[in-house]
Amino acid sequence: MSEPVTVSPESRRRPRIAPFISLAVAAVVAALFVVLAGGKADKPDVTSSFLYGKPAPVVVSATLDGDTFDLSRRKGSWVVLNFFQSSCLPCKAEHPELVSFAAQQAGIVDGAELYSIVFDDSDEAVSQWFAEQGGSWPIVKDDDGQIATNFGVAQVPETWIIDPSGIVVSRYATTITAAALANDLQLLRQAYG
């Protein structure tokens, strides 16, 4: 049994505002609802880079063999940079592709130079991997991660292509195959020449 509701004279004179406020709040909550319902677990878009069409960042370092490496001195050739980590499963899976890519490029005129860059790893682990799995191209040290930061590389594997005038033209933020890479490179050569 509900008790009689006391309705005082004032409230009879008052305008009914509760429904309007409720509706206004409901509208805001509905907007929130729509936003939340549309949310999706995101994957950042990494195929673009602000470096496209710009000169490659300065990369001055040493290779694991002890030679110096300066990216700007490689102008005149196509350069392919691959960021590698020996404990990264996709990197390890992609390695044979790089081996065959390197072999294929060595056999053609104006073949691209392939360099691996150590990403958050110890030099020993990387050279051991290369010793066991093959691959004789230079491996560049990146002890404090500056090369990765300058390129904007947060996760590996990533592969970058730089043209003979030192401009960044391509970025692959996934594993690559030798065939796809060689093909893209051929198209880029034709566009360049």
Partner: protein
């Protein structure tokens, strides 16, 4: 082997079915009985609550049994169980992932429903009580539906591949005993707000928006709030002890999700006093209760749906829509009821003067609501931008810190002035007299801060207002003790002052540690002491350690030639990630906080460490304990006065109200 142990799955499923059926029939039966006034049906409804409770209890017991016996035939055990996990972390693995955490929520909800049912078993013929129980049954039924439907806790798993599965709970949840306390206490808080919400809805439905329901649930709201407060503070402590960057609060979406209901809950606890005393702010109170409960559901959604990135989130894509849908239903129903009944709620009275207790509480409501709006906006803003422009942004601590600082200062000011305000109207003479000593306390606190070398306008203002507010609270307590003896410490007002003192301690600690923390990095060599901040740090040894679950390295560092502290980096073999563990020397004035940097070489002798000197941090935890103590004190029945000019919404005597 697996056919026999899948008994756990069978019994668990059965328990959940029973619970679901009991809740659904309880809700339906009670609703029908109330509408048709069928007394016979009403008498049997009580059993449904016990059945639902039984279902939840059995489900949790069976899941724990499955964890303890390592029953890898269940998918959930494959996800969070491992053979090497120690007993403690194995038991707490129940709530270390999504499915089990819903079981814990369900258990607490079923317990609360049964308690409400038991206490009100003789008053089920009162429609307000009946509708409140209907709402509780509906919420319980929803969670049973969840745990039986989209996230099936007792689902049978595939044949276990021990290379991939059965790795144990997340390493961060195997690190520290707080995992036993923080989630359950937090849930006791979240779920506790269901009860006042249920009574609020019942009051709207029956149109009895005057007095009874709010007194009936006063203690539920208070204790739920208390648990939520303690849960949040324990989370901060855990973040400090475990994560290693020296902070207690990161404005992470999941943290914000627990903070939002706390904000509206705090506003409610204050504003409800105005309703009891003057019969005003009734719409505010119902709205705040609805908001608090809705925000707990929204918080659950944010934590579990994966729409917002967070280090805390544990999600599975399918549950999001259900939680969001439930949130939508709650808000829609509540807003519809408020829209329908709202104008009857509005009190004929009016607040006479802004400088009065009612005025202060109204301003309090407004500030907390704006604060909650800001935190919610910052939390969901990345989603808004993504929906509108399809790009990713993040809203991080700098945004929240910058905006919460002025709000914090304003709240400290309110805490300083409001306790001395009388009802209805305050004259300047009265304020001048009552605020005198508290203001000088504030000046004293400010003088001490300046004397020890503090700088910066914002922290100094905070210290002044904190001293002021502390003085006001102490003044109330001293006067109460003088007048009533020991009873001057219990009751709503006095317990509230103790809680205020706790909040003030936390505010001071936060201001100090945010503004005056010093940090430096060193590479320690064994036997070579380093001096920093007035202490010497000497690396004794860099030790490697291994156990069944992990390997790691720890740096034994002796502080001031005395006790050694050992920050470590642990690699859990099953997961491969490196977990840094800090080591902290607590002190009344400073905490010395040591972390070992991940660049340490496991086989080396030197230790790269970061040393933080964090002032006054321990007062945060002391303040938290005071808040808990104050909550308990506030729960005691205070002295009640009766007089003819008591307002219409005079409270019903709690003892006979039966809740």
């Amino acid at each position: 082997m697996f056919a026999a142990t899948s008994l756990n799955g069978l019994v668990g499923h059965a328990a959940l079915v029973v619970g679901l059926a009991a809740s659904v029939f309880g809700a339906l039966g009670l609703a029908i009985a109330t509408i048709t006034s069928d007394r016979r049906l009403l008498r049997s409804i009580g059993n449904y609550a016990w059945l639902a409770l039984g279902g939840a209890v059995i489900a949790v017991v069976v899941m724990e049994r499955a964890l303890i016996t390592r029953d890898f035939s269940l998918a959930y055990i494959q996800q969070v169980g491992a053979r090497e996990t120690p007993v403690l972390y194995n038991v707490t693995a129940l709530w270390s992932a999504l499915e089990g955490s819903v079981l814990l929520w369900l258990l607490i909800l079923a317990i609360y429903t049964a308690v409400i049912m038991r206490r009100n078993r003789h008053r089920l013929d009162d429609p307000l009580v009946a509708w409140a129980l209907v709402v509780m049954f509906v919420v319980t039924a929803f969670f049973f539906l969840l745990s039986f439907g989209p996230i099936d806790a007792f689902k049978a798993g595939p044949i276990p591949n021990f290379n991939r599965c059965c790795l144990g709970p997340n390493p961060l949840l195997q690190n520290h005993i707080l995992v036993l306390f923080h989630p359950p206490i937090l849930y006791l808080g979240f779920v506790g707000f269901t009860v006042p919400f249920a009574f609020a809805i019942a009051a709207l439905i029956t149109g009895r928006v005057g007095e009874g329901w709010l007194m009936a649930t006063r203690r539920w709201a208070l204790y739920a709030w208390g648990f939520l407060t303690v849960g949040i503070l324990l989370g901060g402590w855990w973040s400090y002890e475990v994560l290693g960057w020296g902070g207690v609060w990161g404005w992470d979406p999941v943290e914000n999700a627990s903070f939002l209901p706390w904000l509206t809950g705090t506003a409610y606890l204050h504003s409800v006093l105005v309703q009891e005393r003057r019969g005003m702010l009734r719409v505010w109170n119902i709205s705040l209760l609805v908001a608090t409960f809705s925000l707990t559901i929204l918080g659950t959604f944010i934590t579990r749906s994966g729409v917002l990135q967070s280090v805390h989130a544990f999600s599975n894509g399918t549950i999001g829509p259900y939680l969001l849908g439930f949130f939508g239903v709650i808000v829609a129903v509540s807003l519809a009821l408020i829209g329908w009944r709202g104008d009857r709620l509005r009190s004929p009275g009016a607040i006479d003067s802004p400088v009065s207790r009612e005025g202060a509480f109204l301003a309090n409501n407004v500030i907390f609501t704006v604060f909650a709006f800001i935190v919610l906006l910052g939390t969901v803003f990345p989603l808004i931008v993504e929906a509108l422009q399809d790009r990713q942004i993040a809203v991080g601590p700098p945004f929240f810190d910058r905006l919460s600082m002025p709000i914090g200062i304003t709240l400290l000011f309110l805490m300083a002035v409001a306790p001395v305000l009388p009802w209805r109207k305050a004259s300047t003479e009265l304020l001048r007299d009552r605020l005198f000593w508290p203001a000088w306390c504030g000046a004293g606190a400010l003088a001490i801060s300046v004397a020890v070398g503090a700088d910066g306008l914002a922290p100094l203002l905070a210290f002044f207002l904190a001293g002021f507010a502390g003085g006001a609270a102490m003044r109330q307590l001293v006067l109460a003790l003088r007048r009533q003896g020991w009873r001057g410490l219990v009751g709503r007002a006095n317990g509230g002052m103790v809680v205020h003192l706790g909040v003030i301690l936390i505010a001071v600690a936060l201001a100090a540690s945010n503004s005056y923390t010093r940090v430096a990095e060193f590479t320690l060599q064994p036997g070579v002491p380093v001096s920093y901040g007035g202490h010497t740090f000497e690396l004794v040894e860099l030790q490697q350690f291994t156990d069944a679950r992990s390997t790691g390295v720890k740096a034994l560092i002796s502080i001031d030639g005395g006790q050694t502290y050992a920050p470590a980096i642990t690699t859990f073999t099953n997961f491969g990630t490196k977990i840094p563990t800090p080591s902290v020397r607590n002190g009344l004035l400073n905490d010395l906080y040591l972390t070992l940097e991940p660049s340490v070489r496991f086989d080396g002798t030197e230790a790269p460490v970061k040393i933080f000197i964090k002032p006054l941090v321990i007062w945060m935890w002391i303040g938290g304990m005071m808040m808990a103590l104050g909550t308990v004190l506030a729960g005691f029945p205070g002295r009640r006065r009766r007089s003819p000019t008591d307002p219409v919404s005079a409270p019903i005597d709690l003892e006979t109200a039966g809740v």
